[in-house]
């Protein structure tokens, strides 16, 4: 009690101690999660069609949706209880230990920074493709995307996520407008699903193609777990985080289904699997200049929203000094900025995306183990949980199994990168264990006022 009162006194005196502001609500959590992810509907998911055909892209849409529903359920429980910036890093620190926390922090920073890089490259390439001007390169647009969004994040989280809410909503509404503009209830008028997806070409590579498609099926929802990073800035974590995350998942499942239906009904799988702009192309194929321009703008907005959310999350995963005026993690934002610019100028889109996906799947694998340990160390009733997810341990088992399938799919497509990254994380863990661990202050590890875990 004394410790709690002291904490209350010290955190509220501005100028003496500075902390993040609690100014966000469920809509901001939704904007953060869906904002990061929605770009995956505008590009990325469609490469699953190249791996296994149009039907494989739909099958993985639902199965990977199950993976992410498990992620959202597990995340909602743990984050509404470990309500700290840093998300899965703070969870690993409390539930597993310093070495796992170190690895998870790296997964998070790489996943979000590489996704931000991919978004900026996509935005630059989309503008260059639209302009069609000789000598115009994407570099200036990449730089502006990364720097302007870093500045926005630097100035305050409320404005950052208000902007994200608006641009994400516009991008989402554009998918809904496209869907209803092509008379989805009438096949043959605009849509030709029965001609483009037939029993003969639905699964051109059989079921192994479906497995291979998992690698890009991740794009339908990659980043929804980023909602947890807002834990320390939402007014009511126990209410806002589960609401925002679950609403985000429902929104994305609907968007993914509509996107697949329209795109698979307008483009043959051979083209759908290689284009960088499936929704923009769908807009063009309707023959309506209005829809074409709307989907072009929506592609840009989705990329912006994703990069914006990624900067927000990467900074919170890193966590450092808090700006006394803007109450943001200004040093983290500035630290990640040159990293993002360097990768955006030297890396290609495929490498950046693969790096992001691999780090993300490693993080999901950790989450499945993390929730088992959390329930074992602090069983129901021992601490107050903001939300308790049902059917435990089924979501954790489903999540773990689907992560293994995804690793196999990545191995099929990007085996050398998978091995290189695994070796990287192994070596960096050895470095942490032998050289860095001695500096860890074990007493500072637990910031939650919880009872001692069972078995300790």
């Amino acid at each position: 009690m004394t410790a709690a009162v002291e904490t209350e006194l010290t955190t509220t005196i501005h100028g003496d101690r500075v902390s993040l502001l609690r100014v966000l609500g469920p809509a901001h959590v939704w904007a953060l999660g869906v904002g990061i992810v929605l770009v995956g509907e505008f590009t990325g998911w469609n490469f699953a069609a190249d791996k296994g055909g149009a039907l494989a892209a739909l099958i993985v849409c639902w199965i990977v949706g199950l993976l992410y529903t498990s992620v959202a359920m597990i995340d909602s429980e743990v984050t509404s209880t470990v309500a700290a910036a840093g998300g899965q890093y703070a969870q690993a620190k409390h539930i597993v230990g310093p070495l796992m926390a170190f690895n998870v922090a790296l997964f998070l920073v790489f996943a979000y920074t590489m996704l931000e890089v991919s978004d900026a490259i996509l935005l630059g390439d989309t503008i260059v493709a639209k302009a069609g001007v000789e000598g115009l390169t994407h570099n200036s647009f990449i730089a502006a995307t990364i720097v302007v969004l870093a500045w926005l994040n630097y100035r305050g989280v409320l404005m950052t996520l208000n902007v994200n809410f608006v641009i994400t909503a516009i991008a989402y509404v554009s998918i809904v407008i496209l869907f209803f503009s092509v008379s989805p209830w009438t096949q043959g008028a605009v849509l030709k699903l029965n001609e483009l997806v037939t029993p003969a070409n639905a699964l051109p590579y059989g079921w192994i193609g479906v497995i291979a498609a998992f690698q890009f099926g991740i794009w339908y929802y990659l980043g929804i777990e980023g909602t947890t990073q807002a834990a320390e800035e939402v007014r009511s974590p126990a209410r806002s985080l589960p609401y925002g995350t679950m609403a985000g998942m429902i929104t994305l499942l609907i968007a993914a289904a509509m996107t697949w239906y329209v795109c698979a009904s307008l483009m043959p799988w051979e083209y759908l699997g290689i284009t960088y702009y499936p929704l923009w192309d769908a807009g063009k194929l309707t023959g309506s200049p209005l829809l074409e321009n709307l989907l072009f703008i929506a592609t840009l907005l989705a990329a912006l929203a994703s990069a914006n959310g990624c900067i927000n999350d990467a900074a919170r995963a890193w966590f450092s000094a808090v700006h006394p005026k803007y109450r943001t993690l200004y040093r983290s934002i500035l630290f990640v900025l040159p990293m993002a610019l360097a990768f955006a100028f030297i890396a290609d889109l495929n490498q950046a995306i693969t790096f992001s996906i691999l780090s993300g799947v490693l993080q999901y694998t950790f989450m499945s183990i993390n929730i088992m340990m959390f329930r074992k160390k602090w069983p129901l009733g021992s601490i107050r949980r903001g939300y308790t997810h049902p059917f435990h341990p089924l979501p954790a088992i489903v999540l773990f199994c689907l992560c293994m399938v995804t690793f196999f799919a990545i191995f099929l497509g990007f085996g050398s990168q998978l091995i290189a990254m695994t070796v990287f994380y192994f070596l960096i863990s050895l470095w942490f264990h032998f050289y860095r661990y001695k500096f860890v202050r074990r007493g500072d590890q637990f910031s939650m006022p919880w009872p001692r875990p069972q078995g300790y």
């Binding site: 410790a3 709690a4 904490t7 209350e8 955190t11 100028g15 003496d16 101690r17 500075v18 902390s19 993040l20 609690r22 470990v82 309500a83 700290a84 910036a85 840093g86 703070a90 503008i127 302009a131 001007v133 000598g135 115009l136 390169t137 200036s140 647009f141 730089a143 502006a144 990364i146 720097v147 302007v148 870093a150 500045w151 630097y154 834990a231 320390e232 974590p237 966590f319 450092s320 000094a321 808090v322 700006h323 006394p324 005026k325 200004y330 040093r331 500035l334 900025l337 009733g381 021992s382 601490i383 107050r384 910031s447 939650m448 006022p449 919880w450 009872p451």
Partner: protein
């Protein structure tokens, strides 16, 4: 027109980057390191959640 937009993007990027660097320098020289790094993750939650069951 697109080339002008491209140059404007470079200009805006440089200006904002310089402003952030200036503000970073100003903040770091105005406030002590103890104040700037005084925030602890989960601290506010510790105030509201007592976990007395």
């Amino acid at each position: 027109m697109w080339m002008t937009v491209s140059y404007a993007c470079w200009g805006i990027s440089i200006l904002l980057a310089l402003w952030m660097l200036y503000d970073w320098f100003k903040v770091d020289t105005t406030y002590s390191e103890d104040v700037l790094t005084s925030s602890r993750e989960g601290e506010l939650e510790a105030v509201s959640e007592k976990h007395r069951i």
